[in-house]
């Protein structure tokens, strides 16, 4: 069957200060195909798409749509040419309805809002793709999967012929992902061309063709039928790498069976009066890594906040060493030796404009270790930071540069360095490897495993189920604020965890 090219780039390059994001990329998209962009974080997939979408302007090279040269000055131009994009982090207005989110900025004829006409148009689109949404619902009341439909509808409403999806399943349960791929299949059959950005090999294998990107370059475009997952991963990393499939478990250190930190029946209603935490029971034991599996937004944040003293639960108890500590301040938790690696590292874990030195003592600025006679001991703090930089291999010119200058991975290392130096019993890690390169991901997991050997009780939340199965001893599955079950890592599988997430298996303890 002859494939017609609908979109292609020619030697496209894009630079950001200090970074080569895309270099001489030749990309080809056929009409009606599902084309996957595969690569690590920072490989250039998102940048390429942002150029295709008109959000950024390429520094050199050309983009051709239907054989004609196009220059997008803004997303508006791209949208007019029929290109739509669904971003990884949704761009929706929580307090608007579904309808308002879709039509805002679109009606260019009348100055009054013509809701009825728009509703009818949307209804036929929803019917076509079997999307079930109430147009009057507020976006904040929707599930994540439904919110993604709104994002997709935004483009379909404007008759998009090319749709770019950026890591769409990162925030979906396995069930929702299946539904999404159904919709994608239908769109493809209707002649809409799909560019799918993904780092999950399982999704890549479902596409019609895949382009592998690495370090800003497009390495190869190939059909999954003609290759294997191993080959693709090698292309992506540029060297032979063992896929992180289930490996033999490490020899487990002895764990005490008495919990160091136990959580009983923790409840918390969020500001929208929904259960963010619903009767949560957990136990953290010394020398053990407890995994927390689930898509972000299911209560992990609230749980970690409660366990670090940053959230007062409505009911339930947190018991440490026989003492009830729920509701106490973050200071209290820190003094107990509980370290926290927050998921929002720049907002909650670092002061971007402060130097590395100052960040290494964040929270401990009043500690007598860092003070001499009520004044900060700058020399000591600097030495302390320099030792940590060396120990954790933080790539930085010196200890006085602001943390904002560092890459995400190195900034994360600063947090690790600080928390490891100041905690001594318990470590809470919320999505510690999100957005980091493979190399640093390995490093972070190594460090966490070392802490386990030292006897720490560790809670590790992650969206990467494979990583959890490899690293953890036990895994609890959280969904909609409830613990759906806790399994032993060695004897579970991704399928079982997926089923627990969607409530299709009896809760296991």
């Amino acid at each position: 069957m002859l494939q017609s090219t609908i979109l292609k780039t020619n030697q496209l390059s894009k630079y950001f200060p200090g970074v080569i994001a895309n270099e001489n990329v030749d990309f080809l998209l056929y009409k009606g195909e599902v084309h996957c962009l595969f690569g690590e974080n920072g490989a250039g997939k998102s940048t390429l798409c942002s150029c295709l979408f008109g959000y950024h302007k390429p520094d050199s090279g050309r983009i051709e749509l239907d054989g004609k040269l196009v220059k997008f000055r803004s997303p508006g131009d791209a949208i007019k040419c029929g290109i739509g994009m669904v971003h990884q982090h949704f761009v929706l207005v929580d307090d608007f309805t579904v309808l308002e989110n879709i039509i805002v900025g679109t009606n260019s004829e009348k100055w009054t809002l013509d809701l009825e006409k728009s509703e009818n148009e949307l209804r036929s689109i929803c019917h076509e793709y079997e999307i079930d949404l109430k147009f009057n619902s507020l976006v904040r009341d929707l599930s994540v999967g439904e919110q993604q439909w709104v994002e997709i509808l935004k483009s379909l409403y404007l008759d998009a012929e090319i749709l770019i999806l950026d890591e769409p399943t990162a925030v979906l349960t396995p069930e929702e992902s299946k539904k999404l791929f159904n919709i994608i299949g239908k769109m493809s059959k209707n002649g809409i061309s799909i560019i799918l950005i993904s780092h999950k090999i399982s999704e890549v294998m479902q596409a019609d063709r895949v382009s592998v990107m690495s370090k800003g370059k497009l390495i190869n475009t190939i059909s999954p039928k003609d290759t294997t997952p191993q080959e693709l991963t090698n292309m992506m990393v540029g060297r032979e790498v063992t896929l992180r499939v289930k490996e033999n478990k490490d020899i487990k250190t002895t764990t005490s069976s008495k919990p160091l930190l136990s959580v009983k029946k923790l409840n918390y209603l969020n500001k929208y009066k929904k259960f963010a935490l619903n009767n949560v029971d957990l136990e953290l034991r010394s020398g053990e890594i407890l995994g927390l599996a689930g898509v972000s937004g299911n209560g992990q944040k609230e749980l970690f906040d409660a366990l670090s003293g940053n959230l007062v639960p409505d009911s339930g108890t947190i018991i440490y060493d026989g003492e009830e500590i729920q509701g106490k301040s973050s200071r209290y938790y820190m003094d107990l030796g509980i370290g926290l690696i927050p998921d929002d590292r720049y907002r909650e874990g670092l002061i971007g404009d402060f130097s590395i030195s100052e960040n290494t003592i964040l929270g401990w600025q009043r500690d007598q270790k860092y003070n001499k006679n009520y004044f900060l001991n700058h020399k000591y703090i600097k030495k302390f930071a320099e030792d940590l930089i060396k120990q954790f291999n933080v790539i930085a010119p010196n200890a006085t540069v602001p943390v904002n200058y560092l890459s995400g991975g190195n900034a994360q290392k600063v947090i690790l360095a600080r928390e490891f130096s100041h905690s001594n019993k318990i470590l809470l890690a919320n999505q510690p490897t999100r957005g980091l390169d493979l190399g640093i991901i390995e490093y972070v997991y190594e460090q966490i495993k070392l802490k386990r050997e030292e006897g720490f009780a560790i809670l590790l939340a992650s969206e990467e189920l494979e990583d959890l199965i490899n690293i953890c001893d036990r895994i609890s599955v959280i969904s909609d604020g409830e613990i759906r079950g806790t399994v032993v890592a060695q004897s579970t599988s991704i399928q079982e965890i997926g089923l627990l997430m969607t409530g299709q298996v009896e809760t296991v303890t």
Binding site: N310, S329, R331, E348, F375, N404
Partner: protein, 357 residues
């Protein structure tokens, strides 16, 4: 439309160029205003110079006028560094002046050093009280500090207006009635003069000490660390164990206390009677001084001295060059804008001129 991007590295020489440009542009704009108003530009600037630093008398006068501005500038620095937009300096000055005056009535007759110490202390407490009030309103009731401080300013100003304009502290005699002021303070309550001058008083010492205290506090103590951290990212500070509500309260107490000292300085050092019209604007000008000083104590000292010189020289400008004294507040506003722009230009750069952003 202009597109801007945050600079990754801040080049020190670029920063200096920016601020120098701000000074130059400021002077150019001022000259423009002078020209528009029909004054002789060179005469005006000469008068400014003559009135602010030509001999010992004028220098001391400049420093004396700088004193309250340095203090209110410091009050601004302490708050703004934490991104607490307290505009309450104006009211805290009044509050400090009134508390000090109350102390001067209450403790009359005590030995001079004790008497003066109490007056100064009460003045600081008066300002601190107002600052604390704003902090409590924010901590407990989530009331925006800009609004609470502005509202409190008006309330306090009206309160003073009542106390010396018909209320219990109103002075005796026609002069007092016309100018709404209290009786003159007793000789024992006057702050001692420095250097045999009739203008520069002990308040200046308080200002210098405050500069040093603030400098050390902000840069070399854990409390200062917290203030600076609050200004950059209060969320992270709160997340990792610091009680930011307490930090807010303490820094507002400090800010208010320093501003209160400005009130003491004006009433007991310069004017020697409690009146509102000499206190007007000290707080607001202090905001400008603090901001032009780059929100640092040392910078505030420099800016305060400069503004004091301007104030001192403006009298000469009026006499010699016939320029309205109100040129000075205008100059202050102009320099504020140019310095603000310079500040932004130091940290951001223009990436391109595009038709669409």
């Amino acid at each position: 439309m202009i597109r801007v991007e945050r600079r990754i590295e801040v080049n020190n020489s670029w920063v200096i160029i920016m601020y120098l440009s701000a000074c130059i542009v400021g002077f150019l704009l001022t000259s423009l205003l002078l020209w528009l108003s029909g004054a002789d530009i060179s005469k005006a600037f000469y008068a400014l110079y003559k009135g602010s630093m030509s001999n010992q008398k004028t220098i001391l006068n400049s420093l004396s006028k700088a004193t309250p501005l340095i203090l209110t500038g410091l009050a601004t620095v302490v708050a703004f560094r934490a991104q607490v937009w307290s505009i309450g300096q104006e009211g805290q000055v009044y509050s400090g002046a009134m508390s000090a005056y109350m102390a001067s009535l209450m403790f009359y007759g005590l030995p001079v050093w004790i008497y003066l110490s109490l007056i100064i202390t009460f003045g600081a407490l008066g300002g601190a009280l107002l600052g604390a009030l704003s902090a409590v309103l924010k901590n407990r009731f989530n009331v925006n500090e800009i609004i609470s401080t502005v509202m409190l300013n008006y309330i306090i100003i009206f309160f003073l207006s009542y106390m010396v304009g018909g209320g219990p502290w109103t002075g005796v005699g026609d002069q007092a009635l016309i100018y709404s002021q209290s009786n003159p303070v007793d000789d024992t309550a006057k702050l001692p003069f420095l250097f045999d001058s009739k203008k520069l008083h002990f308040g200046f010492v308080l200002a210098i000490v405050s500069v040093l205290v603030c400098h050390v506090l902000i840069n070399h103590t854990p409390f200062g660390y917290e203030i600076r951290a609050m200004g950059h990212n209060s969320v992270a500070l709160k997340y990792r164990g610091t009680n930011t509500k307490k930090t807010l309260l303490y820094l507002m107490i400090l800010s208010g206390a320093i501003a209160g000292l400005a009130g003491v300085s004006e009433i007991f050092g310069t004017n020697h009677s409690l009146r509102g019209d000499t206190l007007v604007g000290l707080g607001f000008t202090g905001i400008i001084v603090g901001m032009i000083g780059g929100l640092t104590p040392i910078g505030t000292l420099v800016a305060g001295v400069v503004f004091g010189g301007l104030a001192s020289g403006s009298v000469y400008m009026k006499i010699i060059a016939k320029v309205p004294g109100t040129l000075v507040p205008t100059m202050e506003g102009i320099f504020l804008l140019t310095f603000l722009i310079a500040g932004v230009a130091s940290h951001y750069k223009i990436v391109g001129f595009k038709r669409d952003v």
